[in-house]
Symmetry: C2
Subunit: 350 residues, 2 copies
Amino acid sequence: MAKRPATIIHVAEKARVSVKTVSRVLNDEPNVTPDLKARVLAAVEKLGYSPSKAARTMAGSRSYLLVAFNDRRLTLDNWRSERGNEWIDQMLYGAMLRCEQSGYHLMFELVDRESDQLEKQITAVLSSLQPDGVILTPPNCENPVVLGALKKRSIPFVRLNTPVRGQGPRVYMDDRAAARQATKHLLGLGHTRIAMIAGDYKFSSSILRVETFEATMEAAGHPVPEARIYKGDFTFEAGVAGARALLDLPDPPTAIMASNDQMALGVVSVAQARGLAVPGDLSILSYDDTIGVRLSAPSLTAVRQPVAKMAEKAADMLITASAAGEKQIAGNTLVPFELMVRASTGPAPK
Amino acid sequence: MAKRPATIIHVAEKARVSVKTVSRVLNDEPNVTPDLKARVLAAVEKLGYSPSKAARTMAGSRSYLLVAFNDRRLTLDNWRSERGNEWIDQMLYGAMLRCEQSGYHLMFELVDRESDQLEKQITAVLSSLQPDGVILTPPNCENPVVLGALKKRSIPFVRLNTPVRGQGPRVYMDDRAAARQATKHLLGLGHTRIAMIAGDYKFSSSILRVETFEATMEAAGHPVPEARIYKGDFTFEAGVAGARALLDLPDPPTAIMASNDQMALGVVSVAQARGLAVPGDLSILSYDDTIGVRLSAPSLTAVRQPVAKMAEKAADMLITASAAGEKQIAGNTLVPFELMVRASTGPAPK
DNA sequence: CTCTTAGATGATACCGCTCCCATTCTCGTC
DNA sequence: GACGAGAATGGGAGCGGTATCATCTAAGAG
């Protein structure tokens, strides 16, 4: 009863044409008469035929597969702590749907940025899966080992949301402008003692945000003392520790900006524990705008990263290039961010 | 510079053995002397060789690929509304990590349960991807078209979290016991006027939960009038509509149980809008226990579904069977649920 | 010491497709 | 009317593995 799926040969026989002609029709190649084309399509329909990806990959120059390399530690940490992983969620949404449109597939891989096996891991995936393109997320998109492995094999790739230029095509948002706008939002509310909980400096966005924050504050006449920058690592716990350290300063901040949502939620929990009203006593601003900050009490003002759009665009670039047989991906794409003003930021206390 | 990956032939040459011997080593087949095995492994290492999945799929009887069929509508709705999709997240976590351990891969497919092309969609995926196994989530795991297509092609599959037995192997939780425990939790708090917002009846868990709720109430001497069951469809909006309808009853409930998290959050929003204290005036209990209900204010008491564990187990069953060359999957697996008691349920008001 | 037998290895035919290279056919051209 | 260009089709060689089967070796039996 194990019904074997139909092959291209069955289709060819049924349509009374050569295998090659079927292939032409399937791949929309030119020089096929409408008559034959119709016969082939009819046979395909009747047999419920769908070409084997494996065979196509072997024989042809395309595999109809994109791979997304995510950071293993970051990803697993999020999963384990049951915080969910909206980055991945949104990537799936954006990239997968785009892939589907063109008969492509998307595969997730977790790679360990700290492992000395990193290059081997990447290489193994590339040679066993032979993807037509790769999507890199931070911090992989800034990792020379990862980039080197891809370049050595001339696998087209697109980097998601890295501010680092010159290392290949990327789809990104303007981190600098976002940090500036976020800072100005707080300044506009009358805050002058603003602190920041930075992200892991292995992510260059983290550095950029801090720098821009400092520059913007300085320009407004409120230079930021070093103590008001806390180095975090994107975890909830870092948010808690950072908030405590910052609020224990002799001149505690009236607003705290966190470089991602989980740290911001950590800040919220500390504020609540200390009986500080948000935003009455303390304003809180976050980056990422994942679901947690929209549902938290109060809902958080946040810089929204259009992850789904970025992923969709990245997939689009890779598929387009692959379909055209190009190994080189065209230019960069800037996608707009948005400052979602919600209930966690308000006028500075007197 | 496009370095071609090494093939099994290169390995064979380097190790001075036949291609077949390399294949034996790679697949842990018996009857290879340690000497040769060592030579082969050394060559593999030196060349950074990793066998092509495509070639293996074509030549062999395994593809090292599992496919998870998710419901397209449900999934996309969740994504579009930016509520996230923790089911998928957790499946990735559980199933993907299990796959990784055995050199397998997991691929997500969205299929439209309402489409008349459903069977064609499934068939296309099966014949183009040739997965070694399929994981089905509700409501696909109860869809005769889906099940039929899989059976026709003898593709092993495991159904996740369906109470329907006799249609193939499944990994599931005891919905009946969960509904009973949830109901008793509320009864224990003194509630007698308890209402339920049911899920889409296309998911048989929905029906089971309602029935068990009714039976448990009846046994406790508090039969549930029909008006206290609202038929929802798993959306936030259904939760809102349901809460309004139920609270507008002449004898409004003191507790509402919702068949999933989004509907429960809808109930919370109505309660807040009407100035009802939770749980002072109204207790709320939910199913699924996704991240939203843990972060909401107040955090919700919920029946936790161990989705990651279920997915891991499902992947495990499929991989084990596939490795053993069996087309038949062994039995069912019951995984434990847990009632997470949080701040949204409390003693019934006087 | 020959015969059996199981273990160890290799040769080779595919698997289902794409790609390169004929081959045939139809025109338009001089 | 012979000839070349280009369109329409087909033939057949791989792609990189696995599976079947043949071959060869060495250990144990009589």
